[in-house]
């Protein structure tokens, strides 16, 4: 059996099969990206925070645009070379195409990496601080967690003396982390009381774990097993007892409906009690001596004396000062604060003047005062350049972002205006790709800053969780990146493994390259939309 029209087009439709298929597939892709673009519009229109405009580095994005457009041209040349049966030329052009895909992904990777390591925090008064976090140190040496990763200075510190695990669910890696931290401080986590369980009905209570037993996932698993067994056995008995009660109730009053009887049917707890065995649903451990544990903010709901992890582990102990420590602050953003103030009818400038950050950080105060001067200068410049309209209002005014955001370039401008030497051309060009150069710019440009925990409203890296803009940015560019990778793999396959296909049936390979090329054009086209929408608007 052969499927017709694989190589030669059908006459009335004028198409070979895979060409129809790729166009259909692209139609579907249009709907997929259409879904994301409409989500973008929906989110941007409905945003209740200042949408980050022109926040991504344009230069790498622009380079990527040209790289992709170029590769779209070369893929056509590659296809045409095949049509002309010029294998060597095909190899060259296809090679360039695949190389372009690689360049694109490398630039994208750099961009992602910068974002993923950039911290932002929104204070309770909606001031936003951006920068790089430091790492936890002890005696000048960076501390590693039990997995060997450096720990950022954004941890909740709790001096715990007692830990209570839920036997229903405990997250093994977290247990291991607690054990590791305790071991690091030469402390022991031991079982507070004997754990007794009846392992069979009518049997005697047995001690399945003794007080003083050291915490381990194995111990917890053992207790969990007892818990599950007890729960299972109790459930069987409870069900049987309830079923029995219903049988009796229905026999007694067959004329009544279930919902009329429901109130009267119940199991006598005293009669049931002998059949039940205790379900150990929590198990307590003592930490001796009390240890200063570190938790990632998202994992823990902290309280002054009692905190709770997401896996229902209860930590008893004092909550310590847990500031978030920026090693380098590289932007201060009052846009959100100003927006909130405007909504309340308060003058944004005085709201910023009164904000916690400006009140408490001399650096921020100085930067803000300087920035106000810059905005005034900009206003004057715009007035000079564009003049006023008929009503006497200036035609152009500084944007919300101009007014209320002090980005890293402004901070650089400030110190340079104060006489700090400029960076070399190459070094500042590099900054366009990898973000500000903290080492060269120094602490006076990007200072340290410690944010007390109680001031933090919401904190995140520049990841999808920071705001809906970054969410849609990562989702769309990520999905586009996956398309680039997928396309490059297919085209690379034709390049590196295509010789055999070429020798057997060059026309067929040309068809395949045509279809792959159509997909590649689509990938390019998506970027042509993604780039202005996410980078320029």
């Amino acid at each position: 059996m052969e499927i017709p029209y694989i190589v030669t087009p059908r006459k009335d439709t004028g198409l070979f099969n895979s060409k129809i298929a790729i166009w259909l597939f692209l139609a579907s892709e249009v709907m997929l990206f259409g879904g994301f673009f409409s989500a973008y519009v929906f989110l941007r229109i409905g945003a209740d925070y200042p949408w980050p405009e022109r926040t991504l580095p344009v230069l790498p994005g622009l380079i990527n645009t040209f790289v992709l457009i170029g590769s779209s041209v070369t893929v056509v040349f590659a296809w045409a070379s095949l049509k002309l049966r010029q294998w060597r030329r095909f190899q060259i052009f296809m090679g360039i195409t695949v190389a372009c895909a690689a360049i694109f992904m490398v630039l994208k990777g750099i961009e992602y990496n910068v974002k993923l390591h950039h911290q932002a925090v929104r204070l309770k008064d909606y001031t936003v601080i951006e920068g790089h976090l430091g790492y936890e140190k002890e005696d000048g040496v960076e501390v590693k967690d039990y997995k060997g990763h450096k720990i950022e200075e954004n941890q909740i510190l709790i001096e715990a003396s007692k830990l209570t695990f839920s036997t229903v669910r405990f997250h093994k890696p977290w247990v291991e982390s607690l054990m590791g931290q305790a071991a690091h401080h030469n402390a022991e986590i031991t079982l507070t009381e004997d754990i007794k369980a009846i392992t069979e009905i009518g049997g005697k209570e047995e001690v399945i774990a003794k007080a003083g037993d050291k915490l381990s996932p194995g111990l917890l698993s053992r207790i969990q097993k007892a818990h599950l067994a007890a729960r299972k056995s109790n459930s069987v008995h409870r069900t049987a007892a309830l079923r029995e009660e219903w049988k009796i109730a229905k026999n007694d009053s067959p004329e009544l409906k279930g919902w009329q009887l429901a109130g009267a049917v119940s199991v006598d707890p005293a009669a049931l009690a002998p059949k039940l065995i205790s379900e150990i649903s929590t198990v307590g451990f003592t930490v001796n001596p009390p240890v200063e544990f570190m938790f990632r903010p998202r994992d823990v709901q902290e309280g002054a004396t009692q905190s709770r992890l997401r896996d229902d582990t209860v930590i008893e102990g004092k909550l310590l000062e847990s500031p978030m420590i920026f090693h380098h602050v590289d932007a201060i953003d009052f846009q959100h604060l100003a927006m909130k103030a405007e909504q309340k009818g308060i003058d944004p400038i005085s709201a910023i003047d009164a904000s916690w950050l400006v009140q408490n950080s001399p650096f921020a105060r100085e930067a803000w005062e300087w920035h106000k001067g810059e905005v005034a200068k900009l206003e004057a410049e715009l007035l000079k350049d564009y003049g006023t309209d008929k009503k006497g209002n200036p035609k152009r005014e500084p944007t919300h972002k101009d007014r209320y955001r002090i980005g890293w370039k402004e901070l650089v401008k400030k110190v340079e205006s104060e006489g700090r030497p400029k960076l070399s051309g190459t070094a500042s060009l590099a900054e366009e790709f990898v973000g500000p150069n903290y080492a060269a710019r120094g602490d006076e440009t990007f200072p340290h800053f410690s944010v007390p925990r109680e001031q933090i409203g919401f904190a995140s890296k520049f990841t999808p969780s920071w705001n809906t803009y970054y969410a849609i940015y990562f989702t769309m560019t990520g999905l586009h990146g996956l398309h680039v990778i997928g396309g490059a793999i297919v085209l690379g396959y034709y390049l590196f493994c295509g010789k055999k296909m070429y020798l057997a049936n060059p026309e067929w390979l040309a068809n395949r390259v045509e279809v792959g090329g159509l997909f590649w054009h689509f990938v390019d086209l998506v970027w042509i939309f993604v780039f202005p929408v996410l980078y320029l608007m």
């Binding site: 059996m1 017709p4 279930g258 969780s465």
Partner: protein
């Protein structure tokens, strides 16, 4: 010349998998497991879908117990399937808890729609019948076809596997609305191992599967039609599959986008669908940026959700449209208007989605627009149904088993469609929204409607697939109780719904009873009046389960003991699938099929016999022969 070219290419196409060639005997695995033959893939789809349907049905039986007898432990005939450990986790003293009910409800909907009906209608019937009806040797992309099946199975298993996780399966309704679905299973530290996340993962697999499927179907229909098979000679079945393919192709991707974004919300803690200031009892103020839009999810979901209704419906409608002309021995009435209707239906189905969202406060302008389009879409639907009813008029009806099911489809689907009209008007919808009326409405469409149509299809094509008829006696034993039970289950829903019964009451309204005694509840009296219907409906549901036993027996027993078909065309039908050997071999046709006429040439006064198949060469009137000038390059058949 081109034909020569093609033969060469064909051999190259198979250079890496020579075993697929029909000159060789493929191994068991290649023939029955990783098969690329559209017929076997269709059967795989069918079997898998029927198993999922049975599972979804079972979930519903448990839910019906909770509704009818909320205070009583689940009886052992229903709960034996669970392990004791599972019962201890998910049942409270043997009773179904609200959480468990939600889980079963969400999974019942998901399984029935995504894993049951669509794969049965589009996957099984579409795969088996479409290439046969257009005279193609297989689908255009057999390997893609196989991949499509395996992705579907993987998606289904991922979704259903989550029943065994600590968190249980998804619990936020089959619509999976955020922010509820964004928060669900938040206690699970590794979010990838929660039922809610796996639901999304499974969904992405299913969407990929249906994307590959629809691309394959449309390409096959466009490019692989036999010589002479012009567009207006296509059986209606094929048209319906073409439209279904386009619906899947274009409507699913926005849901995939929504699914990906919800996945991001769950795994990376983004806020696509999470508004600012979200506060929950368990977690307090959410540790999220906020700023997202829950409404966005609903829009994206229903952009799929509504066309999906037609994805469910069209294959079933297509089966019925094939069965009626065969069994009335007269042409399908209004074939062309049906074709245009189905195209219009497909188009309109993309612009009605927000009628599911009247209660979200979109504003009167938007509501009016969607109300208008919704009423518009009833026009092509009514044309389709009416054309099929008129097709019965004056026919010499043979009440074969498939015809009986098809005849039941017509009024049942009619009830389903007509009960939808009040829901289309947003004024009436204010009252009926989220009540059992809605449940009754769409179950009338899907269960006694669509499912009956698909049963009809099974009885109709079973002889082609197996070479034997299904047993009539068992068929009647299957049909009549099913028809009665379906109405016992779903008609009272309409009544309850108008009395205000909410669709999410896990205890069937029991919680409202105590209020009704001494307070003036809006629903007070009505709940008491109609609550006993719950028991009737549940009894109906369980009886319906028993009524499916004859069907299962029939499918298996007829394989061995069914009456053998007399020839390759046992129903005396006219479409091309009956021109193949029984069962069709790899490559389908033993001759090069050429089509000479439309698909429903029954009882033509000018020829002997009461049917004239599409493939029979006309003898008497040479003028009628229309050799297709553009098809001279048709490949040679072996």
């Amino acid at each position: 010349m081109s034909s020569h070219d093609h033969t060469l290419a064909g051999h190259d196409a198979h250079h890496d998998d020579h075993h697929h060639d029909d000159h060789h005997n493929p191994g068991f695995i290649q023939k029955y497991v990783f098969s690329t033959d559209h017929k076997w893939i269709g059967i795989q789809y069918g079997i898998t879908a029927l198993l999922f349907l049975a599972f979804g049905f079972y979930l519903m039986m448990v839910m019906r117990w909770s509704i009818a007898y909320p205070h009583e432990p689940l009886p052992s005939w229903m709960s034996w399937i669970f392990t004791d450990g599972w019962k201890a986790r998910w049942l409270q003293d043997g009773k179904v808890t609200g959480e468990t009910y939600n889980m079963f409800g969400a999974m019942h909907g998901t399984i029935m729609v995504f894993l049951g009906i669509v794969p049965l209608g589009f996957g099984a019937f579409g795969n088996y019948v479409t290439p046969l009806q257009i005279g193609a040797p297989d689908m255009a992309f057999p390997k893609l076809n196989m991949m499509s099946y395996w992705l579907y199975l993987a998606g289904g298993l991922v979704m259903c596997g989550s029943f065994f996780l600590e968190s249980g399966a998804a619990k936020s309704g089959w619509t999976n609305y955020s922010p509820l679905a964004g928060f669900a299973d938040g206690q699970v530290v590794n979010q990838w191992l929660s039922g809610q996340t796996q639901w999304l993962g499974g969904l992405v697999l299913l969407i990929t599967s249906s994307l590959l499927g629809s691309v394959n179907f449309i390409t096959t229909i466009i490019n692989l039609r036999a010589r002479g098979m012009t567009w207006m000679r296509l059986p209606f079945f094929v048209w319906a599959m073409l439209v279904t393919g386009f619906l899947l192709l274009l409507a699913f991707p926005p849901l995939e986008a929504a699914g990906i974004m919800q996945l991001m919300d769950r795994v990376t803690h983004s806020s696509f669908f999470m508004p600012s200031g979200l506060f929950t009892k368990s977690e307090g103020l959410a540790d999220l940026s906020g700023g997202g839009s829950p409404l966005l999810f609903q829009h994206l979901f229903w952009f799929l959700g509504h066309p999906e209704v037609y994805v469910l419906l069209l294959p079933s409608l297509a089966c019925v449209a094939e069965i009626i002309p065969v069994n009335t021995r007269k042409p399908l009435w209004g074939y062309k208007s049906m074709v245009y209707s189905v195209l219009v239906l497909g188009f309109l189905s993309f612009i009605v989605w927000a009628h599911h969202m009247y209660m979200t406060g979109m504003g009167p302008v938007v509501s009016t627009w969607f109300q208008t389009t919704t009423v518009l879409i009833s026009v092509p639907s009514v044309i389709l149904l009416t054309a099929m009813i008129i097709s019965l008029w004056g026919g010499s009806i043979r009440f074969t088993m498939p015809m009986i099911w098809a005849c039941a489809f017509l009024p049942m689907f009619g009830i389903g469609g007509l009960t939808g009209l009040p829901l289309a008007f947003n004024l009436a919808d204010l009252h009926l929204h989220d009540t059992y009326y809605v449940i009754g409405h769409f179950h009338y469409v899907v269960a006694p409607g669509i499912l009956f149509g698909l049963f009809a299809g099974i009885y109709h094509w079973y002889p082609k697939v197996t070479g034997r008829y299904m047993k009539n006696s068992l068929g009647h034993l299957h049909f009549w109780p099913s028809l009665i039970c379906m109405n016992i289950i779903f008609f009272p829903m309409l009544v309850q719904g108008m009395a205000g019964f909410h669709r999410r009451w896990y205890n069937g309204g029991d919680a409202y009873l105590s209020k009704a005694q001494d307070s003036v509840n809006v629903f007070g009296n009505t709940v008491v009046q109609h609550i006993d219907l719950n028991i009737l409906m549940s009894m109906g549901a369980w009886t319906l389960a028993i009524a499916q036993i004859p069907f299962i027996l029939n499918v298996f027993l007829s394989l061995k003991f069914g009456k053998k078909v007399e020839n390759d065309n046992p129903w005396d039908a006219t479409t091309l699938e009956w021109a193949t050997p029984t069962p069709p071999g790899h490559g389908n046709f033993t001759f090069d099929p050429v089509v000479y006429r439309g698909p429903y040439e029954y009882s033509r006064p000018d020829c002997e016999g009461d049917f004239l198949p599409q493939w029979v060469e006309p003898k008497a009137k040479p003028a009628e022969v229309k050799p297709d000038p553009v098809h001279d390059n048709t490949p040679s058949a072996h």
